[in-house]
Amino acid sequence: MTADNARSDKRLELVRLIIFCVLSALPFVAVPFLREHYGEPICTGEAANSSGISLFLTIGMISPSVANILTRLITREDFKDCRLGLNLKQENVKYYVAAFAVKIAEAFAGALLVWGIFLRDVPLSELFNKDFFSMGLPTLLAMISFALTGIVMFFGEEFGWRGYMMPKLLKLTSKPAALIIGGIIWGLWHAPIIVQGHNFGLDYPFFPWLGILLMCFDCTMENCFYTLLSERTKSVFPAVICHGVNNQCGISVAITVLFSEAALLSFEMPQHFSIILSLIITVPITVVGITSFVLFCRDKRKGSR
């Protein structure tokens, strides 16, 4: 009887997860129609700069949260364990700080890799931005502060992925499998817009499959870190902050604030630079991801699944 109950509970959780995934992906049904309307891929060129596409992407980013709420209502699940508290206890403060610090460190590590690969020939005296403290730093602070203010969009994703999907996956399967499957689902969710040029553009080898694969890999690594933060604090907000800082203060911002204008102008952009840059930033993301994966899977604390 107990085994039967456990099996039927798991079946119910699986059904909920499927409903959630379908509802999260629903807005992207509009992508082919938008492509038709704009006459070009919607994430590149003039279409990408239009306010209509910005609005569509904003709605897309909120859809996982809406899916969370709708799934709970449809399947008559309660709203306990929504992870909406801040849980700002002393032992959790370090996770909130890590949410900022790790992402900024990743961006700068990526920038240093760009230096190592493409800017080695630039003399050190000309490489770094001499106005870093007067111009670079305020720009970086402004971007981070906009990440805080844009919290609603990033909350829109994280309330769905870390607030609903990951707890469900952790109930259904082992920790390693949950982290990997969750990352792949999150990566594949981006697939309709990657085909439209999001993140990587259109002109890279094996388009769009390489882009989708890279996105799945990056999302899996990111998922490890975000899940570690949200499971340790029992709150989605560290992951929200992390996501915001990741989107607003990526490698491009780090390159712009760290290196001088002369160094950047001397740089000859290779073909397929977007995807190359994404591959470069994957290195620090992977380091953080693997570390988080190990820390999370080894966690034998009371209360951790």
């Binding site: 910005s54 111009m135 305020p138 502060s145």
Partner: protein, 238 residues
Amino acid sequence: MAGLLYKELVLNKKALLLTSGVAAVMTVYILLMSATSIPEDMSELTIIFAAIYFIMFFMVGFLQTEFFRKDESFKWCGFVTSTPKAARGQVQCKYYAVLIANVVMLSWLSLVDSVAAAFGASSMSTMLHVLFWGQLLINAIEFPFSLRFGVDKGTNIKMGLVLSLVLAAIIYGLFGDISFLTSDDAVENIAKFFSGDGMGLLGMWFIGLLPWVALAAYILSCKLSEKLYLKGVESYDG
């Protein structure tokens, strides 16, 4: 905490409905004006929208005053202090409630701004950013006074702060460079100011540091209010 927050929601239903009603009307106005205006009118519209966003945050300021006023009762404060949450929980609940109200308004206005921008209006995300964090900073100064000396005193402090800013702007107007206001492009210049276009270095520092200063002030203000709360309770009626 959830229980105390639910209490805030129930006790302040009317104020919440009023704020929501005003927000709904303003939203419809913004969207209609954005959809039906010609590009040449966008600068004037930006200024009107800036005023509307300011009014919406002012409405939240009115709402948060009600959060504090409703609990200015000696019996209630005595009761809640005897519960496991104690005075600390009561104070934290107020701060959370105000933060949630401001975040909800910011989220709603950000969405409205995105839709208005889709229709061709200028995006005002920078101004929303400043309004949100500026409101939190002013709250951080006001709330300890509200809890220690009463809501009326706290509101007076807030008005004093706002009037100081207005006075500073007037003094700047008297002695500073206001050529951007007197030129032929005055309307466009004001619209650019509100939408954050062409922000200088000082503006970037201000935008970058404001959230951190506001957050730190808000947290410290909460800690201070926890210490002052019971002293303030002694002066309440009922």
